[in-house]
């Protein structure tokens, strides 16, 4: 039987505010335990929550960025559960009326093997504001668990998708897109190691072609895209094998073990899914007016979608190229800087998405750490455009510039890569090649098109790769009367 995997994501994005969502305690990361845990964070009796304006602004920004409905009056609710790092005994969250309603993001799913890249819309079900819990520390004191409440009350935006994704690749593409978007609009620093951006993935499988969703298992707290990919692939295989062996899937929360690459059930959900939500009487409804939205909108940068459209119209890029470049604000800025420094848009786009991105991948660097800056890329592209070097030679120059061997002209000079565009010199080479390869010439004249390319190859080889290929082509055609 052919199976289909169905995936939905819940992402917790820690909002970039100075203070907690319901109190004026600092949210700075890495401070001494409990030094940022005020009376609200540790839930002393009688304290009251007061909502942080900036956290609300962040939620509005996100809603606008995914074209979502923003709820005019949303409501905070108590989610009740018992755990020592949640001293109130409930988490303040939103339930029936979240601040952000239905929206959508468009993702680019990269090509894998024979499958071409494609675009897909992932629907956002909702996004709601809530507070983070504290942290349990094990092993600090023998036989006890330590509780650090510095993180308690840190504002989070939980972003929930519809079960729209159909492969690990789509889920990862969505997570990456969302990760970039929250940083782009400046609501989250995206630091996955510090837990500022964490994903829970709901995975179920069903026979292909059927409508009814299978029972899902939730993979908790994935803090890297690589782990997400591995976890979903493992979980999918496990569920399919279980069903094919006649087993049943139990709804459960599972953890991914990066060392073994396996997922393992943590607790069965049946036991603990009764959170007894109810509206929090300590908080009034949150009102967001059209004026609030307009005020926030004015503070937002150009969104990726708008920038993508502009790249297509202004620079004549294809939809795919424009989407790839605007997948990251830093990459988009690099491209624009290169173009502003005099590079032609299309080759600049190709180099950023091709050679540069490949190098950065290998070296695990972000584009802001690229050894070759945008102006240097532009200088290299100008030398290709004015025929000083061939595309092939440009690759060598690029490598040298990347390695910090100097500026473009110095390297071209030092390596003797200057392209031969002198007609006389090229003609001499071609004459030599034609004389030495009489057999190929005969083949070509007998109608074998391939022989022509072989002759071009011979000529390029004879010039040690320095001849201008376009000129070689043209002159060879002339000589052969083609």
């Amino acid at each position: 039987m052919e199976w289909e995997v169905v995936i939905g994501l819940e992402t917790h994005a820690q909002l970039q505010t100075k203070t907690k969502i319901f109190s004026g305690a600092s949210t700075a990361f890495g401070s001494e335990p409990n030094t940022q845990a005020c009376e609200v964070s540790i839930a002393l009796p009688g304290v009251l929550p007061v909502l942080n304006k900036e956290a609300v602004n962040c939620a509005i920004k996100f809603g606008l960025a995914v074209n979502a409905e923003i709820t005019p009056r949303s409501v905070f609710a108590r989610k009740n559960y018992f755990y020592p790092d949640l001293p109130k005994g409930y988490q303040i969250s939103q339930y029936e009326l979240p601040v952000v309603g239905k929206g959508a993001v468009t993702i680019q799913v990269p090509a894998v093997g024979k499958n071409a890249a494609y675009e897909k819309v992932v629907n956002i079900t909702r996004a709601h504001l809530e507070e983070d819990a504290g942290k349990s520390v094990h092993g600090a004191v023998e036989g006890m668990s330590g509780i650090d409440l510095n993180r308690a009350g840190t504002p989070l935006l939980e972003i929930v998708t519809e079960p729209d994704m159909r492969s690990a690749a789509e889920a990862v593409a969505y997570a990456k897109k969302l990760h970039e978007l929250v940083q782009w609009i400046g609501i989250c620093d995206g630091n996955m190691q510090e837990g500022s951006f964490r994903c829970d993935v709901n995975v179920s499988v069903r026979p292909k072609g059927t409508e009814k969703l299978g029972t899902r298992r939730e993979i908790k707290n994935l803090n890297s895209f690589k782990f997400m990919q591995q976890a979903i692939e493992f979980e999918t295989r496990w569920q399919i094998e279980t069903l094919e062996d006649g087993g049943k899937i139990q709804q459960a929360t599972v953890l991914f073990n990066p060392d073994t690459g396996e997922t393992r059930a943590m607790r069965s959900k049946e036991e603990a899914n009764d959170y007894r939500y109810f509206p929090d009487p300590d908080l009034l409804p949150l009102e967001i007016t059209e004026a609030d939205k307009a005020r926030v909108r004015a503070l937002m940068p150009e969104l990726p979608e708008a920038m993508k459209a502009r790249f297509e119209s202004e620079y004549g890029l294809t939809s795919y190229d424009a989407a790839t470049l605007t997948a990251s604000r830093d990459v988009a800025n690099y491209f624009v800087d290169a173009v502003n420094a005099g590079a032609d848009a299309k080759p600049a786009a190709n180099w950023v998405m091709g050679a540069i991105s490949a190098k950065l991948n290998v070296e695990e660097k972000s584009i802001t750490e690229s050894p070759l800056n945008a102006a240097q890329l532009a200088s290299l592209l100008k030398r290709i455009a004015d025929n000083t070097i061939s595309n092939n030679a440009a690759k060598q120059v690029f490598e040298a510039m990347w390695a910090g061997e100097g500026e473009v002209d110095t390297i071209i000079e030092a390596k003797g890569l200057k392209q031969v565009s002198d007609t006389g010199a090229i003609e001499a080479i071609i004459d030599e090649v034609l004389a030495a390869n009489a057999a190929m010439v005969e083949e070509f004249k007998a109608g074998k098109e391939k022989a022509f390319n072989a002759l071009v190859g011979q000529a390029m080889k004879a010039s040690k790769g320095k001849a201008n290929p376009a000129q070689v082509n043209e002159m060879l055609k002339k000589k052969l009367g083609a």
Partner: protein
């Protein structure tokens, strides 16, 4: 809605409350009474009435995003008991509040 003694035990477990057999039976009677009251309320026709999320018809006041709380750890931890092992040791040394070991 009829509750069973098993429901009572499950709720008690979720709330981490120890309930004896006798207490469970008594609690069952009380909770059934409360549910009866709710059933009575649910019988009222609320068609077209917007659910009220708060008893006052006002909206949330917002706070500026400015740090106003200073570090009061020492004061707060004076009243924090470090339970377990019969120890009276305070948690201040490592800066953590201590609770009996929790392992999921």
């Amino acid at each position: 809605m009829a509750l069973s003694i098993e429901d009572i035990k499950k709720i008690a477990h979720l709330a981490r409350i120890e309930v004896s057999e006798g207490e469970a039976a008594a609690t069952l009677t009380k909770l059934t009474g409360i549910l009866g009251l709710i059933e009575q309320m649910q019988a009222v026709n609320t068609e077209g009435i917007v659910p009220m999320s708060h008893s006052q018809d006002v909206v949330q006041r917002l706070r500026e995003d400015v740090v106003t709380k200073t570090n009061q750890r020492e004061a707060f931890q004076k009243i924090a008991p470090a339970l377990g092992n019969g120890s009276t040791e305070r948690a201040v040394d490592c800066g953590l509040y201590l609770v009996p070991k929790v392992i999921e």
